[in-house]
């Protein structure tokens, strides 16, 4: 059994950490508070080859493994969860279905620019009556000659306001339920597709999320991703991969909470002693460190399963469940350790506290994760 990261993975961690110290951390507060999209870092992230890490070089990727991507997401999220999410959504929700199900032509046309950062991608699945259950909602795609006509409204689409291309899941045959869903590639700017105002969210505030409105949006038949009826399968496997990424985000957030808490507890003096000398604080820190380590092992193991070609549906759900709930608990403790100052804007733990909550919800709530894990026990 080998728990050691490869030399390359260790170097990537060091590179991303250095990059974050230099470019990501200094603007993270502004990105959160204004909030704004960290556009100045996007080109740099692309130059570092971090927008399409696990995809082959011929499609603009870096040709590394998924664990390397996970390490990059962990490190980015440690500094700025919004930046981590922007990259994660692009890589796992937009690039992945194109890579896995796209034709050669679709990969060249859409995957390559996404990996190179020439544009960002978004994945439009959730709607008012549909989400992680991957059930048909109101969005439909009707065949009309050489085109499909898409109608409906998608909700909570991450990266939507700045996306260059959307992967849209829509019902081609409502009577078939989940089996009647299909996935489509819809470039931004196609007549009939528009995005709503960015939502003023609790966390991940610099990662812009909005509605996507499809109104008689006509796309050529060649923009069907995979086959008709494959939409639910595409969405399912795409979400599985992204759940490992969200676990990595939660891991990064929890690690940052731990680092901040250790640092502050050594500095803050009460009753003539630094508060880290009190057992109450030490036990909190000990629990935080242990749970972070548990989350890391589950997350890396899920990524390892992905890289080995092993099933990872259950492992991804377990990693996301554990890491996201850890992040929520640890950031709560981190604010507690900081006391009053921990509730003030501009304090990193205040931001981490809000960002952590998103990881329990996006790409499937903790309840959906438990359902997925329970399902795997029943079958």
């Amino acid at each position: 059994m080998d728990f050691e990261l490869t030399e390359e993975q260790q170097l990537v961690r060091a590179s991303v950490r250095e990059f974050c110290e230099k470019y990501v951390e200094p603007i993270a507060d502004a990105v959160d508070q204004e909030p704004r999209f960290p556009s100045e870092n996007l080109k740099k992230l692309a130059e570092q080859d971090w927008l399409g890490i696990p995809y082959p070089e011929e499609y603009g990727g870096a040709g590394a493994d998924y664990l390397t991507h996970i390490i990059a997401i962990e490190e980015l999220s440690r500094a700025c969860a919004s930046t981590g999410f922007i990259v994660e959504v692009n890589t796992s929700l937009a690039c992945f279905p194109l890579y896995k199900f796209g034709s050669e032509e679709q990969k060249k046309k859409y995957l390559a620019p996404l990996c190179k950062g020439e544009m960002l991608g978004a994945f439009a699945l959730t709607e008012a009556g549909a989400g992680a259950n991957i059930a048909p909602g109101i969005t439909t795609a009707v065949s009309d000659g050489s085109e499909y006509v898409l109608n409906g409204t998608k909700a909570f689409v991450a990266n939507a306001p700045i996306a260059g291309v959307f992967i849209v899941v829509a019902a081609t045959d409502k009577a078939k339920g989940r089996e009647g869903l299909s996935a489509f590639i819809v470039p931004a700017g196609t007549p009939g597709i528009s995005t709503g105002e960015p939502l003023p969210k609790l966390g991940f505030r610099g990662a812009l999320t909005s509605e996507v409105i499809l109104k008689d949006c006509r796309i050529p038949k060649e923009n069907l991703l995979g086959q008709e009826g494959e939409g639910s399968a595409i969405a399912g496997i795409t979400l599985d991969g992204c759940r490992i990424g969200i676990a990595a985000q939660a891991l990064g957030i929890a690690e940052a909470a731990l680092v901040e808490s250790v640092r502050y507890s050594k500095e803050r003096v009460q009753f003539d002693k630094p508060i880290c000398s009190f057992q109450a604080i030490q036990w909190m820190l000990a629990n935080m460190a242990t749970e972070v380590e548990v989350s890391r092992h589950l997350t890396y193991h899920a990524a390892w399963c992905y890289d080995q070609g092993l099933p990872y549906h259950k492992e991804a759900a377990m990693a996301k469940l554990m890491a996201s709930e850890t992040a929520v608990q640890q950031t709560d403790r981190a604010v507690q350790i900081h006391g009053g100052i921990g509730t003030v804007k501009g304090q990193k733990v205040e931001r981490l506290y809000r960002d952590a909550k998103i990881t329990e919800i996006c790409e499937g709530t903790s309840e959906v994760m438990r359902t997925a894990i329970a399902d795997s026990l029943m079958h």
Binding site: E7, E8, Q10, L11, V12, A14, S15, E18, F19, K22, E47, Q48, D49, W50, I53, E57, A62, G63, A64, T68
Partner: protein
Amino acid sequence: MLKVITCFKWVMDEADVKVDASSRRLILDRVGYKISLYDRNAIEEAARLQEQHGAGVVAITVAPPTAKQCLKDALSRGPDKACFVNDPSFLDYQPAQTAAVLATAIKAQGDFDLILCGEGSSDLYTQQVGPVLAELLGIPCATYVNKLTCVEGEKRIIAERKLDDCVEVLSVQLPALVTVLPDINTPRIPTLKQVLAAGKKPVDHITLDMLGSASEPRLQTISILGATMERRRLKFGTEVEDIQAVIGALLKEGVIA
């Protein structure tokens, strides 16, 4: 083609060094390693010459075999090839001994034009290896360099030395050795493709036997203790007669004798 050799040292990451509060002993069991900071500037300068003048760059280090991880790190930063001169005894080599090993290994590499070193290492910072190496190779040496220009078509460099009270500009005939200050450049953060490509670049593994000459390690570390800061929280007045009180306190604490 300009042939550049850049020397680097694999050092403990000081951020990972912890100090035991009671004994002041350094706790090193979880320490990570990195390329010494100024050596990263030397490697970056070599990479810049590579990009601007098509220089061929060899990165060389003298280290214990356990430092193997340094190779991909260095190669991801630009050099075409690495030269890993390794032996467990190198850990206890004096700077002059390290320079002697480097000199032998560099001579074995054949012709070169320019050797770049960091001004000093992040751990010992003796600033000796560069100048001693130049002396052993019989080539000119420019230290404290914060700007380097390669004169196209001539085997010559213009080196700006940042000294205490002035900037000295030297024209140096190659081959030569230059030690660089951190102001000379900003080392790049390797891209993922550069990291992945590093493992495919050639590495010469050179052992002590292959060098043909060995010397006993002359450095013996007897003890290293962490520095501690204890605040006495003494307060003094600003009158002339208070000076005696300040001196008395300093004598008592053993700061002055």
